[in-house]
Amino acid sequence: MNSMVFHPGLILIATGFIAAIVPKSIRKFVLAGGPLVALAAMFSLSYGAEWIVPFINGIDLHVVQVDRLNWVFGLIFSMMAAIGGIYSMHNKSWMEALASMCYAGGALGVTLCGDWMTLIFFWELMAASSLFLIWCNNTAKSRKAGFRYLLVHMFGGNMLLAGIFLKVSAGEMMVSSLAAGPHDLAFWLILIGVAVNAAIPPIHGWLVDAYPEGTITGSVFLSSFTTKVAVYCLIRIFAGTEFLMWVGVIMALYGACFAIIENDMRRLLAYHIVSQVGFMVAGVGIGTDLALNGATAHAFSHILYKSLLFMCAGAVIYATGIRKINHLGGLAKKMPFVFVCFVIAAFSISGIPLFNGFISKSITITAAMEAGFPAIELLLQLASVGTFLSITMKMIYFIFLREGKDVEIKNEIPKNMYVAMGIGAALCTVYGIFPDLLYRFLPFAMEYHPFTVDHIVQYIQLLCVAMVPFMMYLSHMEPHEQLTLDTDWLYRKPFVALVLSISSLVCATRAALGGFFRWIYDAFNELMANPMQFLCQEPRTMEGTGDVPDKYNPDSYRTAIGEPMVIIMAVFLVAVAFIAFA
């Protein structure tokens, strides 16, 4: 079927280019309207829709190949592009508008495509365009963080490219599941490439390093696409790869623990991306239909509440200019709308019933139980406690509720930011109350009811009681004015030292070799200054002076002209005699 297909990703990319060239006054309407067109295009795609474009060497590019799995991801990515577009309407920067729309378009491109070559093209487009969302912040820190981001993603992209190269050269053009094996080189290369984008430790350092340095609006986009596109690829390619469930559990706990001590708002939220993506990766590892539905649903919910958290944090930074939690306080009264939205997002991410985190997170945990992995189930619940402590308790209390900090509101928040936050908050609540709005689009058939007494009671107990340790330890809970080392330390300190030492070793070797050859050259020169010395010819003394010259001087070796003349004449005579008498 190759009927008329409107590619939502290409619509977003076109939106970006249009937004970049039109005057500022029109740009905001383009940014708000373009993603809505893309969303409409997404709804026009039905399951089974295809768009095949012929490429070189008889290869066909399956630019669009829709099934239940990528449709639901495409839907949330288009929705997020629309929310993000509204949130960034006030932006003056044409480059940021272009980068954000190309980035969202790239995410849709990866999601909707059916073959490896289209996938890697849009994958690299995402990496390249997202970089500019960091660089547009235009601070020294963001430039450096962006450069590190670029290096890590070039590494990941090249791993993926190498894996895809192996697949394509073996004649496998279409994206397909590799979980059943063989676990060959292509499997590992593609897994590493996807794992970089999914921020799987230890290669997650780029995320917590770069996302807090992005622009206020850029971070909202960043938080939504890269990791969730990687989750989509994990579900598509690696569903049922068992070790991934342990990787997921480690991620879930890792992010939660680091978030408890983190001081930078957006870095704390970035740690919770690692943590929440851990739930999805665990679902991919479990690999049952229920677990994969859980991972898909959680990606869907996560994009909504995480972007809302980033929007609220961005609004706080926009209004106050402060990004450190220990400098903030008492904003509930000064920014009531942001406070309400933040509370909704925080309740969602913690999995409080009637908000959308609950309806998706609990699927994965139930799937772990039903598949017979009790340790995974308990550890994921523990991670939920950590999420609740560091976002709902810590951020709400220290940023919004505590008294004694006089934070000045310097800038009025633009109306479009309020609208975007309002839409995000409404969606978090609507999906939380009516989970069937989401469940009906999930890729696999399942029998699951979130609102059982059992589930609700469990979360009430778990989260209510988790408040107690926080309040008992409240005086020590305020984060310190410090940064936390993470795996990016490896390439910011030891790796830098390694590179510097290798480079000084190379420089020293070069200098030493240069010196050595110079010495040989000089010695050779000195030796060759007078080749006649080899022949053990004593030079004659210079006439009149009695000096022996240092360097070769033909005059000191010249003999009188008579001697050669005698020899020449003798030879001549012998020759003539031979000719005459022979």
């Binding site: 020294a140 189930e377 209390y397 979360y459 778990l462 209510c464 936390t484």
Partner: protein
């Protein structure tokens, strides 16, 4: 949170938890069969012990081990 506030919150938590335990005993039909599914109030222990474990692990171990001065890397205020 003032101490009075704190006390109020503790009471609210206690009531909510008590109600939830009663509901659990009377109405819940746990899907799982391990002891943490069937034992009423297991999640209370989980939340309390787990909460403390995470807080202490992060604050007492991760913090001292991994937290550094803000200028640890290079200050970041200027380009090189």
């Amino acid at each position: 949170m003032q101490s009075l506030n704190k006390k109020k919150i503790y009471i609210i938590i206690a009531i909510a938890v008590a109600v939830s335990v009663v509901l659990e005993v009377l109405m819940a039909h746990p899907h799982g069969h391990n002891f943490w599914h069937t034992m009423p109030g297991f999640d209370i222990i989980m939340g309390f012990v787990g909460g403390w474990a995470l807080i202490l692990f992060a604050k007492k171990l991760l913090g001292p081990l991994l937290q550094r001065d803000e200028n640890y890397y290079d200050g970041g205020d200027g380009d090189e």
